[in-house]
């Protein structure tokens, strides 16, 4: 039998250098400061989540996106308040990107009654309909199909709301990906699919199990879509690509598929030390951490160190307050386990 590769023996994939032109992208400075704040919020929030995990306070599993913040920030910033987000189990950042307050999110991770879902959903299912976060889905690919529905609905209702659906690189090999992309293209749905290519599924390199080099972008043409690859570690690059896809969708131009390359600094989930990654790879990507790079860019653009420090401190305060809020939450009452199966608020299956 031919073996296409030796497991774990794949080459390190190193990041591309930052695009030096991106500093000249036509993005207002205020927007850039928002992008910086968003990335800080995501980073500091998830660091805190990790600390609380080490203190055994986070129940169940959780999947951090430390190192990948530029994507959620760039896309979130490009969205309008009434647009829809569909996230995955790795959805903390995508949720925060829509302005969902940190306290209830953190409380949800801790399984408290003041959690965003009152403890019923957990880290993998963050949802805030109020903020357009229409759910986080933990079965690979499902959210792509569901996102077609909210996009279809906006089209049907004649609003110009758009929908963004996130996915990982691994999701591009599941059937639902294919069905959703074709469906969206056929009906010219106002949906933007964003693939966060962080080079790995759980513990397996995406290159070991995918027929093409760019798991999303190299398939765009199969749905009549343009090939789009962006630097997922550059919030400006993501923001520009997302803005253009979103405005196309809003104007009736149909769906887009964006592949943003990035890297997660930690393991897949809280249980994973991430040992399967080749030497040098992690270090190289740590060097391309989106946040210090963006910090530097803002300095170059004339923002003062003091102003950036202030953002960091504001965010630190926010995280602190969220921690107090979350830790202070009571555990859910046992009988709430029996509510909200049905629209009448209950769970009775008999008359």
């Amino acid at each position: 039998m031919q073996i296409p590769h030796e497991y774990g023996a794949h080459e390190a994939r190193l990041p591309e250098p930052v695009d030096p032109n991106m500093i000249n992208a036509p993005i207002p400075l205020g927007t850039r400061l928002d992008l910086y704040r968003l990335q800080q919020q995501m980073r500091q929030f998830e660091k805190r989540a990790y600390d609380l995990f080490l203190q055994n306070l986070v129940k169940g599993t959780s999947h951090l996106s430390i190192g990948m913040e530029a994507i959620a920030a760039g896309v979130g910033q490009a969205m309008r308040a009434d647009d829809y987000t569909f996230a995955t189990y790795r959805g903390h950042a995508h949720t925060l990107a829509r302005g969902v307050p940190m306290g209830p999110v953190l409380a949800e991770l801790l399984g408290r009654s003041n959690g965003l879902l009152a403890g019923k959903g957990g880290s993998m299912h963050l949802t805030s309909v109020e903020r357009g976060v229409m759910g986080s889905y933990a079965i690979i690919g499902a959210q792509l199909c569901i996102a077609c529905g909210s996009a279809w609905s906006a089209q049907f209702r004649g609003t110009d709301q758009i929908t963004v659906a996130f996915m990982g690189d691994g999701a591009t090999n599941i059937g639902a990906f294919h069905e959703a992309l074709n469906f969206a293209a056929v009906f010219r749905l106002p949906v933007v699919f964003v693939c966060e290519n962080n080079l790995y599924m759980e513990y397996t390199s995406i290159f070991d199990v995918t027929a093409v080099e760019h798991p999303a972008a190299d398939r765009a043409s199969a749905y009549g879509l343009d090939r789009i690859v962006v630097d997922g570690n550059d919030a400006d690059a993501v923001y520009m690509a997302a803005s253009s896809a979103i405005s196309k969708a809003r104007q009736g131009g149909g769906p887009s598929l964006i592949e943003a390359t990035t890297y997660r600094h930690g393991g897949h989930s809280r249980a994973d030390p991430g040992k399967y990654r080749p030497d040098g790879e992690v270090a190289a990507w740590l060097d391309r951490d989106p946040i210090p790079m963006y910090h530097q860019r803002l300095l170059t653009l004339g923002v003062s160190e003091a102003d950036l420090d202030q953002v960091q401190r504001d965010v630190a305060d926010e995280v602190e307050a969220a921690t107090v809020f979350a830790k202070g939450g009571a555990p859910p009452q046992a009988d709430t386990a029996l509510t909200d199966v049905w629209a009448d608020g209950g769970s009775s299956w008999r008359n």
Partner: protein, 325 residues
């Protein structure tokens, strides 16, 4: 009042809802231009146009995903999965997404949608196009499950399903499409979770669903000739389940029989028998007996298919034997 076939009642019932509520729309494979492969959506495209009656690609996951997303954002979709066997290719959407999203989000999300599907055997379509899978759906919390046996029930229960704020799986029995019945004129809206006593008799209770209802009624007539008077209950819905009607009947008759088209193990009959075994034990005068398709895939040849799906004769024999013994 008009006499309609079960097949016509489907389009009639859908049209009633499409007319009433502009947020209702319907889509699926070949349902628009062609009026459905079972001709149960004929005329809808013509009346309601291509914005509300839509042909889709062969992409059942996308169909149900789209239904879910649309239902979450203000619409009331009716999605067709052509044969219920195909629910298996989009089962994740049904059981992990649609059924669970309200609960997982602590009630933030509503999913008012209907999944219509052609269910059941008798058409010699073989193992992959003939299954009765209503028990698959019943086993999953968060889904309402409806399976009408008459044209009037099709219309009334479909209306109730579309107007319900929960996801409903609506099983249309392929072998009932050609059957006829009176459908009252004017708006028709029934109530989910209500069974119907379609025949009264003091000696035993026969609980049936969909195609098994006419067979149970016919069997009861034969049994009456042999001196056994059976109550026949048409369940109509599996979730919510009308346990009251079942328990009160069994309390009177002391004998329970269920007639299921699904294969033997873990059908709705087992659930009904178990509820009675727990809640009505002291009223029972003998064993509760399930009459089901044996635990085999469905064969294609007519004689084989007829041999496995419960027949009038089999119902008569099982009931008579059990009550004589």
């Amino acid at each position: 009042m008009a006499e309609l076939t079960y097949r016509e009642a489907i389009a009639y019932g859908i049209a009633q809802e499409l007319r009433r509520d502009p947020t209702v729309f319907i889509f699926g494979e070949d349902i628009a231009g062609a009026g459905g492969v079972f001709k149960s959506t004929v005329g809808l495209l013509e009346e309601f146009g291509p914005k509300r009656v839509i042909d889709t690609p062969i992409s059942e996951q996308a169909i149900l995903g789209a239904a879910m997303g649309a239902a979450m954002t203000g619409l009331r979709p009716i999605a067709e999965i052509m044969f219920s066997d195909f629910l298996a290719v989009c089962w994740d959407m049904v059981v992990n997404e649609i059924a669970k999203i309200r609960y997982m989000t602590n009630g933030q999300v509503s999913v008012p949608l209907v999944i219509r599907t052609g269910n059941g055997g008798g058409s010699r379509f073989g193992a992959q196009h003939s299954q009765s899978v209503e028990n698959w759906a019943m086993a999953v919390p968060g889904l309402k499950v409806v399976a009408p046996s008459t044209p009037a029930d099709v219309v009334g229960l479909l209306a109730a399903s579309v107007r319900d704020d929960n996801p409903v799986l609506f099983f249309e029995h392929k072998s009932l499409f050609a059957t006829k019945g009176e459908v009252p004129s004017g708006e028709l809206v029934d109530t989910l979770g209500t069974a119907k006593v379609v025949r009264h008799g003091k000696d035993c209770t026969i609980v049936a669903l969909a195609l098994m209802v006419p067979r149970a009624i016919a069997a009861a007539e034969v049994l009456a000739g042999r001196g056994i008077e059976a109550t026949v209950i048409d369940l109509r819905c599996l979730v919510p389940l009308d346990t009251q009607t079942i328990l009160s009947s069994v309390s009177e008759t002391g004998h329970l029989f269920t007639v299921e088209e699904n294969p033997r193990l873990c059908g709705w009959g087992a659930e009904v028998v178990s509820i009675v075994a727990e809640e009505c034990f002291w009223a029972l005068d003998g064993p509760s007996i399930r009459i089901t398709t044996p635990h085999v895939p469905l064969p294609s040849a007519d004689v084989l298919e007829d041999a496995v799906i419960p027949s009038v004769e089999r119902i008569v024999n099982v009931v008579a034997k059990s009550l004589d013994a």
